[in-house]
C-alpha cells in the first residue's frame, strides 16, 4: 500500500503519463522499439530520482505494446515483433470495416491483461521466479515445439505449403553464426549476415510491403480500407466483449506465465495465445478472417508478458527480453543491484513501480479509447498517399534498428517474397513462426542433448516437457485424425 503512496505522488503520475505517451508513439513506429528509446533517455533519467525514472521507463515499455497494435491493425505493419499475431485478425477486421472495434478490443484486452499481470507480480513474484528456474532447455524445446505445432492451426488450405513456409522460416532463423561452434552458416560470405536476419526486417517486408505491392495491382484504389461507420464499427460491441471472454483470460495467463520464463518473449506468448484461442474456439475456421477474439488473445498475451518479464528481472536480476535488459542496465547504472535481495531492500521502489504499472494501464485505456475513432480516420487517407508513406516508414524503421543499408535491401527482397507468397497461396504466418522459434528451438534441443549426453530420452523423462511435447504431437496429428474421420464417414455412407 505504501506503493500506491509513492505512485500517486503528482510528480510520479506525471512521469508515468510521459512514459506511456512516449511508449505509445514509439510502439507505433515500426523498428523503433522500447530498448532504443529507453537507452536514449538514460542520461535524462539521472536528473530524476530513481523511482520516477523507473516508473517512466516502465511506462514506455508497456505503452509501446499498446502502440504496436495500432499499426498492425490499420496497416498490417507490425509495430514490433509481438504485434505480428495481431495482424492476422486485426487487419482483416479493418478490411471488414471494423477497425475501430479491433483497436478498441486490443486496448481493453491489454488493460485486462496488464492488470492481471500486476496482480500476478504482487501475489506470486518470488515463488514463481523460483519455479521458473526449474524450467530448463528440455522444457524450452518442448515449448517451442508446441508453438511450432501451432502452424497446423494456422495452415489454411494447403498443409504442405504451410509446412514448407515453416521450414523456410527455420532456415532463415539459422542464418548466421552458430552459437555453439562459432561456424558461420548460410552467410554467403557476407559480414552483415553474421548475426542473422533481424525478425523485424522479415516481418515488415513480408507483411507490409507485400501488402502494398498486392494492392498495386488494382488500377483504381480509391481508399485503402473502408472507414468504419457507425458505433458498431467504431467501438467494440457488447457481443464482441462477450466473444472475447475466454480470450481475455487466455491472453493474460499465457502471456504472464511465458513472460516469467527468462528468454521466452512476447512473440511466442502472443502466438501461443492465438493458437490456443483458435483451438478452443467454436468458430476456428473464421480465424484469419477477422474475429474479435483473434485480436484480444494475442494483444492480451503481449501485455501480460510485460508484467511477467519484470519478475525475473527484479527478483533474480535476470532479464527476460531485450527491453528488460535495458531496464536492468538502467537500474545498475543508477547504483541498484537487482537480484534476490532487491525487493526486500528496496520495498518503496518496487511497490511504487508495481502500483504505477496499474495506474499506467488505466491511463493507457483512458487515453486510447477516445483516440480509437480518431486513429480509424487514418484509413481515410487516399491510397496513393498512404502506400508510399508506408514504404517510407518501413525503410526508416528498419534502418533505425540496425543502421545498415543491407537490411533495407533485405526489406525489399522480403517484400517481393511476401507478394509472391500471396499470389502463390503460401501462408505467411508459418514463415514468421518458423523464423521466431527456429533459433531458440535449435539451441534448446542442442543444449538438452548436451545435458543428457546424447540421450534423447531427456525430453520425455521430465514431466513438464513430456506433457508439452505430447500436446504438440496431438496438435500435429489433428489433421490426420480429421482425415481418418472423414474417410470413415465416407465409408459409412457407401
Amino acid at each position: 500500500m505504501q506503493g500506491f503512496a509513492v505512485a500517486l505522488q503528482p510528480m510520479n503520475l506525471l512521469w508515468c503519463f510521459v512514459g506511456v505517451v512516449l511508449g505509445t508513439v514509439v510502439g507505433v513506429m515500426p523498428g523503433l522499439g522500447p530498448p532504443a528509446t529507453i537507452a536514449m533517455l538514460l542520461p535524462l533519467t539521472f536528473l530524476m530520482n530513481p523511482a520516477s525514472a523507473i516508473i517512466m521507463l516502465a511506462g514506455i515499455y508497456y505503452g509501446a505494446k499498446y502502440g504496436g497494435s495500432t499499426t498492425s491493425i490499420l496497416l498490417n505493419v507490425p509495430g514490433e515483433s509481438a504485434s505480428v499475431a495481431t495482424c492476422f485478425d486485426g487487419y482483416q477486421m479493418a478490411r471488414n470495416g471494423r477497425a475501430g472495434a479491433a483497436l478498441g478490443i486490443a486496448a481493453i484486452a491489454s488493460f485486462i491483461a496488464g492488470t492481471v499481470g500486476v496482480i500476478g507480480i504482487m501475489l506470486v513474484a518470488p515463488p514463481l521466479a523460483r519455479m521458473a528456474l526449474a524450467f530448463s532447455s528440455p522444457e524450452y524445446f518442448a515449448l517451442m515445439a508446441l508453438g511450432l505445432a501451432m502452424v497446423v492451426l494456422l495452415a489454411g488450405r494447403s498443409m504442405v505449403k504451410a509446412l514448407l513456409a515453416t521450414l523456410v522460416g527455420l532456415w532463415l532463423a539459422g542464418i548466421g553464426t552458430d552459437l555453439f561452434s562459432q561456424t558461420s552458416r548460410f552467410t554467403f560470405g557476407r559480414m552483415e549476415l553474421l548475426s542473422g536476419i533481424d525478425f523485424v526486417v522479415v516481418a515488415i517486408g513480408v507483411f507490409a510491403i507485400g501488402e502494398v505491392l498486392a494492392n498495386m495491382e488494382g488500377r483504381e484504389a480509391a481508399k485503402a480500407l473502408p472507414v468504419p461507420k457507425g458505433w458498431r464499427n467504431l467501438l467494440p460491441t457488447l457481443q464482441d466483449l462477450k466473444d472475447s471472454r475466454f480470450a481475455f483470460l487466455n491472453g493474460s495467463v499465457v502471456g504472464f506465465l511465458i513472460g516469467v520464463l527468462p528468454g521466452a518473449g512476447s512473440t511466442i506468448a502472443s502466438f501461443i495465445s492465438y493458437g490456443l484461442e483458435k483451438a478452443v474456439s467454436r468458430r476456428p475456421e473464421q480465424f484469419g478472417k477477422g474475429v474479435v477474439e483473434g485480436v484480444a488473445a494475442p494483444e492480451g498475451a503481449n501485455n501480460a508478458e510485460t508484467g511477467g518479464a519484470l519478475i525475473p528481472m527484479l527478483t533474480l536480476g535476470i532479464p527476460g527480453s531485450s527491453t528488460t535488459a535495458v531496464l536492468l542496465a538502467a537500474l545498475v547504472l543508477w547504483g541498484f543491484k537487482p537480484g534476490p535481495l532487491f525487493i526486500p531492500e528496496n520495498p518503496a521502489l518496487f511497490w511504487g513501480l508495481v502500483a504505477s504499472m496499474y495506474i499506467g494501464n488505466l491511463m493507457l485505456l483512458v487515453l486510447n479509447m477516445p483516440l480509437v475513432p480518431l486513429f480509424a480516420q487514418v484509413l481515410r487517407t487516399p491510397a496513393y498517399i498512404l502506400y508510399p508513406v508506408i514504404l517510407g516508414i518501413a525503410m526508416v524503421g528498419v534502418y533505425s534498428t540496425s543502421g545498415s543499408l543491407f537490411d533495407v535491401w533485405l526489406l525489399a527482397g522480403f517484400g517481393l517474397l511476401g507478394y509472391l507468397m500471396r499470389k502463390l497461396d503460401y501462408p505467411s504466418a508459418p514463415l514468421i513462426l518458423g523464423l521466431v522459434l527456429g533459433g531458440a528451438m535449435e539451441r534448446a534441443l542442442r543444449q538438452s542433448l548436451m545435458m543428457s549426453d546424447g540421450h534423447v530420452s531427456i525430453l520425455v523423462s521430465r514431466p513438464v516437457s513430456a506433457v508439452m511435447l505430447s500436446l504438440a504431437l496431438l496438435i500435429l496429428l489433428m489433421p490426420v485424425f480429421g482425415k481418418i474421420n472423414r474417410w470413415r464417414l465416407q465409408a459409412l455412407e457407401k
Binding site: 552459437l179 555453439f180 536480476g317 542496465a329 537480484g339 534476490p340
Partner: protein, 321 residues
Amino acid sequence: MKKAFALAVGMALAVPAFSQSFTPSRPVEVVVHTGPGGGSDVLARAMVLIMEKEKLLPVRMQVANKPGGGGAAAAAYLAEKKGEAHTIGIFTGVWLTNPLTSAEAKVSLKDLTPIVRLLLEPAVIAVKADAPYKTLGEFVNAAKQKPGELKQSGGSITSRDNVVRQQLQKVSGARWQFISFPGGGERIAALLGGHVQMMVIEPNEAGEHIRAGNMRLLAQVSDARLPAFPNVPTLKEAGFNVTPVPQVRGVVAPPGIPRENVAYWEGVFKKLTQTESWKKYVADNQFEEAYQNAADLSRFYEEFSNQMRGVLQEAGIKLVR
C-alpha cells in the same frame, strides 16, 4: 615599427596554433558493438556521463550502437571512417578473437588505430550454494572421476568462459562439458536451477546472488585477489598453474589517424582514469583498472592474439586466420 609589432603579435598567436595538436570541434561518436543495454553500451554510456560531469571534452559524445557479427559490424564501420577524427570505438577482446574464427569478420583490431586500454574484467568461478564442492580442487577432482558428466554454462566456445575451462582441463586432465547459452541471464538460471554445476561469471553479476546466499565462489580468475573477495583464492593459489586470459576493454579509432589525435585521446582518457567518478565506477562494478597507452596497447594485442590462438587451437576450434 607597427609592422614588426603586428608581425610579432601574429607570430605569437600563430605559435600556439601550430603546437596545438587537435581538439574535437563536433560531437564525437562512440561506437559500440552491442545493442542498448549490452556490456559495451553500458560502459560507453557511463563513460560519456563521467566525461560530461568532469568536463573533460569540449564537445558532446554520442553512443552509436552498431551490433552484429560479434563486433564485426562495428569494426567494419570504424574501418570505413578512415581518417575521421571524431569517431572512436569501445572494443573488447571479442574484436580480436572474432576475426580468428570467422571468415566474414574482415576487420581486426590490428587494422584500426589503438588508443588506450582501459579495463580488465576479472571473473570468478561459481557454483550453487548447496553444491558439494568447497574448493576448485574438489570440483576438478569430481570431474576427473566422472569425465564428461559435470557441466558448465557459459557463452560461445570462443568466450573467456570456455578459455578458462580449456586451460583448467589441460593442466588437470579432467574433462567436463560446456553448454552455451546466449545470455547471461539464462546461464545464471541454468546454474541456479541445478541444470549445470559450475559457471564462470563476472563478479558484479554474481554479487547479488552471493549476498543472497544462492551462489558460492570457488576461485577468482585474476592475478591478484580482488578487494571485494579477500577470502577467495586465485587460480594459482588454488593450485592451478594457468595464466588468466583477461577480458579486456579499451578504446580504438579508425585507421589513418594522425599522431597528435592519438596523443590527444590518450591524454583525455588518462585524465578520465584519474577522476574520482571513474574510480568509483570501476570499484562499484568490480573492474580492474588497467590503463595502457597506445604503444603498450599494440604490444598487448600481439600477446593476447597469440594466447588466444594457442588456446583455441588446443580446444579444437578451426581458425581461419
